[in-house]
């Protein structure tokens, strides 16, 4: 069991950040989900020993979070949310510096840092000054420094924030590749649902410092009603009227997506019959699962 905590409480002065969190994490990649200010970063900081919980117990990799912080940090890699670096250095010296601080011999750290930078896709700019790095490159650099010492457990705090789709895809692929290794566990904190859906199998949802939901993603998003998403072209109104007469609810979203809630017992193929009759093109037709986003909205309780 890599991470196990019970009844963790923490507050910044008057503001309660964590209010009794219990977690027992299984193997594999784990997503820590929640809106801004839900306490995700605080939780990670407690696991790393930056903050001492007001009350509660826990262990990371079998080491106690209160008394054995040094051992935890030896085997943990951390990618912080904030933009952080050391000015005046290039990527290779920075990464190997971080490796050395973790206890790698200097020559090994240098060798490894070249490998790691190559791995995260910074091989061409590894000799450039960090000040000149773009947001995307800094993100990769932070990932590189978090894996340079080959940790057993990696904490990633908002790993894709500020990235463009291409950069995001690449970072997520890297994370999936790392977490596919059986002996490395990854804990990703994010508010970007698709990221978590894509990389993790298990998710913990925090809201306002409390546990909102926890479990396997596949179990959490079970289908509860028969909802279809459609995009159509043609005479909309007539089509919508016909659908309504079938005793089903239709909702139109901001980006012109139709959400059709079919009453039980209605054959979805009837939609196509109506389409033929009303001469409407159906360009998109998907049976919707309760997506993680809906789940998220539901447990978080807004909208």
């Amino acid at each position: 069991m890599s991470v196990e905590i019970q009844q963790i409480h923490f507050s910044y002065g008057k503001i309660k950040a964590l209010n009794g969190i219990d977690i027992r994490l299984p193997q594999g990649a784990i997503g820590l989900l929640g809106p801004n200010g839900a306490g995700k970063s605080t939780l990670l900081r407690i696991l790393l020993g930056f903050l001492v919980p007001d009350s509660g117990e826990g262990s990371v990799l079998g080491y106690d979070i209160r008394s054995q912080q040094a051992m935890i940090r030896r085997y943990v890699g951390y990618m912080p949310e904030d933009d952080c670096f050391i000015p005046g250095m290039d990527a290779v010296s920075f990464t190997s510096y971080m490796g050395e601080l973790s206890g790698m011999p200097r020559q090994e750290a240098m060798k490894r840092s070249h490998e790691v930078l190559y791995y995260v896709g910074l091989e061409e700019s590894r000799y450039r000054m960090l000040e000149t790095y773009s947001a995307g490159m800094r993100q990769r650099l932070k990932l590189a420094q978090s894996i340079v010492h080959d940790p057993k457990l990696i904490f990633l705090d908002e790993p894709t924030s500020g990235l463009d789709p291409q950069g995001r895809k690449e970072i997520l692929e890297l994370i999936m590749d790392i977490s596919s290794k059986k002996d490395i566990q990854v804990l990703i904190s994010s508010h970007i649902l698709p990221d978590i859906e894509q990389t993790c199998s298990y998710v913990v949802i925090l809201n306002k410092g409390e546990m909102a939901a926890e479990g396997q993603i596949s179990e959490l998003k079970q289908v509860q009603y028969s909802l279809y998403e459609l995009k159509i072209k043609g005479e909309e109104q007539a089509f919508l009227d016909r659908l309504a007469s079938m005793d089903s609810q239709v909702e139109q979203t901001e980006d012109k997506l139709l959400k059709v809630y079919l009453s039980p017992g209605t054959d979805p193929q009837d939609i196509f019959k109506i389409a033929v009759e009303e001469k409407v093109q159906i360009r998109h037709f998907v049976k919707s699962q309760t997506s993680l986003e809906d789940l998220f909205a539901k447990v978080v309780g807004v909208d």
Partner: protein, 289 residues
């Protein structure tokens, strides 16, 4: 045949409990200081007194050759503990030391605070003590170059120029004095600089403080001393305290009429205060209440 696997590769080495986990911090700190504009030039300038004193030692062994230049005044060329004390406690050297601190010390912690880098350090098996030791060692490095090293070099060259060990026999403890004094002022300035560097995120602000507080304490004590005609007010001055203790360490008369251990107490008190503040300020995350 083996094929290199694509994707993430493990590192097959062992993490070690380094004996000096702070050493990388020091090495990088020194390297970054040397990268600063004009620093090398400036640092060279700081070594001028050392050169002058070295020439003095040479001249002291060849007094006859230089007599025509001296016009009889040769007392100051007598290489004895006073000669060393004069080097180590002269105002110019101390002033240059402070300027070096502005260069190498202002950003030590302030830059890490500014760029959120502390969490990178403390996410690794590094204790607060290691971090501070590493940063302080940067200051030790630069200040030893202008204090400890010249001191030892002076003694060595005196012996070499003289060709015998008489000097050593006369003042066997001198080398200890040099070491003790160098360690004292370097330790003090390390605490002083780290303290000021940790209270601001802005390098400019810290630079001004390092310089300003030093000069300020000196002016302040001078004014008080002038009004009250009491040497006790020299205790307010950083410079005077260092000079006071320095004189004792070199077995010379103290420049002011106050017990030297008062000065030492002041110095130690500042160091302890700094240590306390540093312990509060240096942590993995900034906690805002």
């Amino acid at each position: 045949m083996t094929i290199k696997e694509r994707g993430y590769a493990h590192w097959d080495g062992e993490l070690q409990d380094g004996r000096f986990p702070w050493w990388p911090i020091t090495r990088i700190g020194i390297r970054l200081t040397f990268k600063r504009k004009f620093f090398k030039f400036f640092f060279g300038f700081t070594l001028i007194p050392a050169l002058v004193w070295l020439v003095g030692i040479y001249v002291s062994e060849r007094l006859e050759d230089f007599k025509f230049m001296m016009e009889g005044e040769t007392d100051f060329l007598n290489v004895n503990p006073l000669y060393f004390k004069t080097y180590f406690t002269n105002d110019f050297l101390l002033f240059m030391v402070v300027m070096i601190l502005v260069f190498c010390g202002a950003g030590l912690i302030a830059d890490d605070l500014r760029h959120n880098a502390l969490q990178l350090y403390f996410a690794r098996p590094l204790k607060k003590r290691d971090y501070l030791t590493g940063k302080a060692a940067v200051i030790f490095f630069f200040l030893f170059i202008v204090t400890l090293i010249p001191g030892i070099v002076f003694i060595l060259f005196k012996l070499i120029f003289a060709g015998n060990f008489q000097f050593f026999a006369s003042y066997p403890w001198l080398i200890l004095s040099v070491i003790a004094y160098s360690v004292l002022i370097t330790t003090f300035f390390a605490f002083y600089t780290l303290l000021l560097s940790s209270i601001g995120k802005n390098r400019r602000y810290v630079s001004i403080l390092i310089f300003g507080v030093y000069i300020f304490s000196d002016i302040f004590s001078a004014i008080f001393k002038e009004i009250f005609r009491s040497h006790y007010f020299y205790l307010l001055s950083i410079k005077s305290n260092l000079q006071q203790v320095g004189a004792v360490l070199f077995d010379q008369r103290t420049p002011w009429n106050i017990p030297w251990y008062y000065s030492l107490t002041v110095i130690i008190a500042i160091c302890l205060f700094s240590a306390y503040i540093l312990k509060q300020r240096v942590r993995g995350v900034e906690i805002i209440k």
